[in-house]
C-alpha cells in the first residue's frame, strides 16, 4: 500500500490547507466496507456506551470505583475488630438497623447488597466481553516473546476471577456462615476469629488480598484513565493516590488475620 499517498491524504484532510484538492483519490486496495453499525442519530446514551469499547470500559471503570468505595468503608468497619468484641459486634448490629426507623431492619444493608451485586455482575460481564474482543484483535502471537507490561497489568483477568471466587467463599464463610464450622449468627467477632484460626482460612484470605492489591494497583489508575480524568499534570499525583490506596487496602485487610494469628485479636 503506498503509504506516501495515505500520508498526503491525511495531511489534506487534517490541515486547513487550501492548496491540496480532494480529488477523490484514495489508496488502492480494499474499498471501505459499508458501516455495519446502525447509524441512528442520536443514539441513546446506554446504547452508545454498551456498543462501544470505550463505553464498556466506562461501565467497567465506574463499577470498579463503586467497589473500591465499598472496600474503603468495609476496611474502616473491619478495623473496629481491634477495639474488642463488643464494639465490633455492635457495629455489625448497627449495619442492620442502618437507616432506621425509616428503613426496616436490614433494608439499608440489602440496598447496598443490590448495588454491589449489580456492580460485580456488570464489572464481570464487561470485562469478559472486552477480553474476548481484545484476544480476537491479536489472533497471531509474535514468535519473538518479550515480557510485556507489569505483573499487575498482566494478571488483571485471572486475578479478577480469583477475586470473584474469593467473594463467594467470603460470603459463605462470614455472611451466611455456611462453611464456617464454629460460627454463630450475630457474633461476627467470634466468627472472624474462628475463620482466621484455621490454616486454610488464612491462606485463602491472604492470597486473595494480595490478588486484590495487584488488581487495584492497575485497576484503580486504569479507571481514572478510562474516565478521562488523567492528564500529564496530574499523572504523578494520581499514581501516588492509586498505588497508596491499593497498598493501604491490602495491608489493612491482611492486618486482621495477622492480628488473630499473633493473638492480638482473640
Amino acid at each position: 500500500m503506498p503509504r506516501a499517498l495515505l500520508t498526503v491524504t491525511v495531511m489534506a484532510l487534517t490541515t486547513k490547507s487550501a492548496s491540496k484538492p480532494t480529488d477523490g483519490k484514495r489508496a488502492p486496495g480494499k474499498p471501505a466496507p459499508a458501516p455495519d453499525r446502525p447509524k441512528r442519530y442520536p443514539p441513546s446514551l446506554p446504547a452508545l456506551l454498551w456498543h462501544s469499547t470505550v463505553g464498556k470500559k466506562t461501565v467497567l471503570a465506574v463499577t470498579g470505583l463503586i467497589m473500591v468505595g465499598y472496600l474503603v468503608a468495609h476496611l474502616v468497619g473491619n478495623l473496629k475488630i481491634f477495639f474488642g468484641a463488643e464494639e465490633f459486634n455492635s457495629y455489625g448490629h448497627w449495619l442492620r438497623t442502618l437507616g432506621g426507623p425509616v428503613l426496616h431492619y436490614e433494608w439499608a444493608l440489602w440496598m447496598i447488597r443490590v448495588v454491589l451485586v449489580a456492580a460485580v455482575v456488570l464489572h464481570g460481564v464487561t470485562a469478559y466481553q472486552l477480553s474476548r474482543r481484545d484476544i480476537a484483535a491479536r489472533p497471531v502471537a509474535y514468535v519473538h516473546k518479550r515480557r510485556r507490561a507489569s505483573y499487575a497489568t498482566r494478571t488483571m483477568r485471572w486475578g479478577g476471577v480469583i477475586l470473584g471466587l474469593f467473594v463467594v467463599w467470603h460470603i459463605l464463610d462470614l455472611t451466611t456462615l455456611t462453611v464456617n464450622e464454629n460460627a454463630e449468627t450475630g457474633h461476627p467477632y467470634e466468627n472472624t476469629v474462628a475463620t482466621f484460626s484455621t490454616w486454610y482460612g488464612n491462606t485463602i484470605y491472604i492470597t486473595a488480598m494480595v490478588a486484590l492489591g495487584l488488581h487495584l494497583r492497575h485497576g484503580f489508575w486504569s479507571a481514572v484513565q478510562t474516565l478521562g480524568a488523567a492528564s500529564p499534570a496530574r499523572e504523578r499525583a494520581l499514581r501516588v493516590v492509586t498505588d497508596t490506596s491499593a497498598l493501604v487496602l491490602t495491608c489493612g485487610f491482611i492486618s486482621i488475620p495477622v492480628a488473630v494469628m499473633t493473638g492480638v485479636v482473640n
Binding site: 491540496k20 484538492p21 443514539p43 456506551l49 462501544s52 481484545d134 478521562g228
Partner: protein, 247 residues
C-alpha cells in the same frame, strides 16, 4: 558485522507463513535496518529467490510507511522508525527476529507487509475538519492560543505507522485515534465537528476489529513520535463528553 535475520516469510494473505533464517554479511554499524533488508534482497534476487517484501518510503522517519517488529519490539530497540534504526544498535553475530505488525485489523499482505487501510477508514470517519478549500485563509484570521497549538502539534506528530497497534497486546488503535482526536480537537478549526468526530472515529475503530485499551502503556513506549499515553485519557474524556451531549 555479520547478523542472522530470522524473517517472517508468507507468500500471500491466505498462505501459511514461517520464520526463515538468513545470514547477512558486510553489515556496517552505519547501515539502517532497512538497508540490511535491501542487502539481503539484492542477494535473494541474484540467487533467483523471492525478495522479502516490506513497506518503506521516505526513509527519513516521517512518512510512517515502514514498520516491522524487530526482536518483539515495534520498530526495534530504539525509539524511532525502522528506517532510522541503525545497525550500531546491534552487535556482531546477533540473531534478529523480524516479524510483521500483528493485529486482526492489519492482515498480512505478504511477508512483512500488512494492510493498514483500517487506519485510513478511521481517518475517513472523522479525522478531518470541514473548511472552504478555495484560497489560503488570512494569517491569524482564527486565533489559536499557544497551549492549544502546542497540544495540537504534539499529537499531529503521529505518522500513522501502526506501531501502537503492533505493540498493544490487544491490537488496539486507541493511541492512533487519540492522537487524531486530540490534535483536531485542540484547534478552533476542529471545534464544529468535535462531538461527531470522536463518536464516528471510535465507532469505526471498533468496527475494524481493533481491541480495547487495557492501559498497559505499550503503545506509548513503542510510538516513534512520542504520542503520550494521556492522549488516550483525553480521547476517553472527549468520547464521554460527546456521548453526554449528543445522546
Amino acid at each position: 558485522m555479520k547478523v542472522t535475520l530470522r524473517v517472517w516469510r508468507q507468500p500471500g494473505p491466505d498462505a501459511a507463513g514461517e520464520m526463515v533464517s538468513y545470514e547477512v554479511e558486510d553489515v556496517t554499524p552505519e547501515m539502517s535496518f532497512l538497508e540490511v533488508l535491501d542487502t539481503l534482497n539484492e542477494r535473494l534476487i541474484l540467487d533467483g529467490s523471492e525478495p522479502v517484501a516490506f513497506d518503506h518510503d521516505c526513509r527519513e522517519g516521517i512518512c510512517g510507511a515502514c514498520g516491522v517488529v524487530i526482536n518483539g519490539q515495534a520498530h526495534g530497540p530504539e525509539r524511532t522508525t525502522a528506517c532510522q534504526l541503525h545497525m550500531r544498535s546491534f552487535a556482531d553475530g546477533d540473531v534478529i527476529d523480524v516479524e510483521p505488525w500483528r493485529a486482526a485489523a492489519f492482515p498480512v499482505v505478504k511477508d512483512l507487509v500488512v494492510d493498514r487501510s483500517a487506519f485510513d477508514r478511521i481517518i475517513g470517519a472523522g479525522g478531518y475538519i470541514t473548511a472552504p478549500t478555495g484560497s489560503a485563509p488570512d494569517a491569524h484570521a482564527t486565533p489559536v492560543p499557544k497551549p492549544a497549538a502546542e497540544t495540537a502539534f504534539e499529537h499531529a506528530e503521529c505518522i500513522g505507522c501502526g506501531a501502537c497497534v503492533a505493540a498493544c497486546p490487544n491490537g488496539s488503535a486507541m493511541l492512533f485515534t487519540a492522537a487524531k482526536v486530540v490534535h483536531l480537537g485542540a484547534l478552533p478549526q476542529g471545534a464544529p465537528e468535535r462531538e461527531s468526530r470522536v463518536l464516528d472515529m471510535i465507532g469505526r475503530m471498533d468496527d475494524e476489529g481493533f481491541g480495547g485499551c487495557t492501559n498497559t502503556g505499550e503503545c506509548a513506549v513503542a510510538c516513534p513520535k512520542g504520542i503520550p499515553l494521556q492522549a488516550i485519557s483525553s480521547l476517553n474524556r472527549e468520547f464521554l463528553r460527546a456521548a453526554r451531549k449528543s445522546a
